[in-house]
């Protein structure tokens, strides 16, 4: 189809149509990209939007989770010690759905893993795995935050 049009364009009568078509294409392209830019700008202009505050809060919660896991490991030989876990994902999701009317909360609860003979229930694998996952989450959040900053920086033209 393209090929057939091309052979017709050789004739002088259709050359005008060709230039018009190209101009129309440029117009459409510029309108589209302009629209895209305007759309993007709407989001970038709000520097202190929920993305940054959410990531900031989640970073803090992740480091708190690491503190809880470290505390569990530190008490691995304490008789009767019950390990605890920190949860915030569900609360954060609810808070984000509520559009800022609710604050997210990080809550600790008992892990309830099987107890040893001395009443201690710290499972070293579980705790190290929590630390590992938390470190991955932390890296992902830090990466997301740095992406946000680089978007802002490119909006400043730097």
């Amino acid at each position: 189809m393209e090929c057939g049009n091309g052979s017709r364009l050789v004739h002088g009568g259709t050359r005008v149509n060709m230039t018009f078509f190209l101009r129309f294409c440029f117009f459409v392209a510029s309108v589209l990209s302009g629209f895209g830019r305007a759309h993007q700008r709407e989001h970038i202009m709000r520097v202190g939007d929920t993305t940054m505050s959410t990531i900031e809060w989640a970073l803090g919660a992740e480091s708190e989770r690491q503190r809880v896991a470290s505390n569990n490991i530190a008490n691995i030989n304490t008789p009767g010690f019950r390990s605890s876990r920190l949860d915030f994902e569900a609360s954060l999701a609810t808070a984000m759905d509520s559009n800022g009317s609710m604050a997210p909360q990080a809550t600790t609860h008992a892990a309830n893993t099987p107890q040893n003979i001395n009443g201690n229930d710290v499972a070293l694998e579980d705790e190290t795995m929590i630390l590992r996952k938390s470190s991955l989450h932390y890296d992902a959040l830090a990466e997301a935050l740095s992406m946000k900053f680089s978007t802002l920086r490119s909006a400043m033209g730097r």
Binding site: E125, D126, M129, R132, K133, L136
Partner: protein
């Protein structure tokens, strides 16, 4: 949390291997435990493992179902000088086979290593996923 499914499954494998090693260690340390024929003999502890059903929110893996005593006839030996010997001069030795325990120890150790390697590989994979947005 099913986001890091491979890590969850590998952790359950680590726990199973650790409990197994604990049981083997208990068995080996009790290899010389002698009891009176009136009591139950010391029986080797066996770890019963079952698979975790893979499904919604569960990544699969394994868990310790139960720890049971090894069945079989008591190992009665004649030792009349033993303080626990009965009127016939018999005592019961532990129902522990050292060659079985040693073989199991190697398997449990390798199983722990394999699961730990799985954890390393999964972490590397997840970490490389973080490189996607970088430029």
């Amino acid at each position: 949390m099913a986001m890091f499914g491979a890590l969850d499954a590998a952790t359950s494998g680590l726990t199973v291997s650790r409990v197994w090693l604990d049981a083997i260690s208990d068995n080996v340390s009790n290899i010389n435990t002698v009891r009176s024929t009136k009591d139950q003999p010391f029986r080797a502890r066996m770890v019963i493992v079952s698979a975790i059903q893979r499904g919604e929110g569960e990544a699969g893996g394994a868990r310790v179902e139960a720890i049971k005593d090894r069945p079989g006839d008591a190992n009665i030996v004649y030792d009349p000088t033993h303080p626990l010997a009965d009127e016939n001069g018999n005592v019961q030795n532990a129902n522990v086979d050292l060659s079985v325990e040693m073989t199991n120890m190697i398997i449990a150790n390798r199983s722990y290593q394999a699961n730990l390697r799985m954890v390393e590989i999964a972490t590397d994979t997840y970490r490389s996923a973080l490189q996607i947005g970088k430029r």
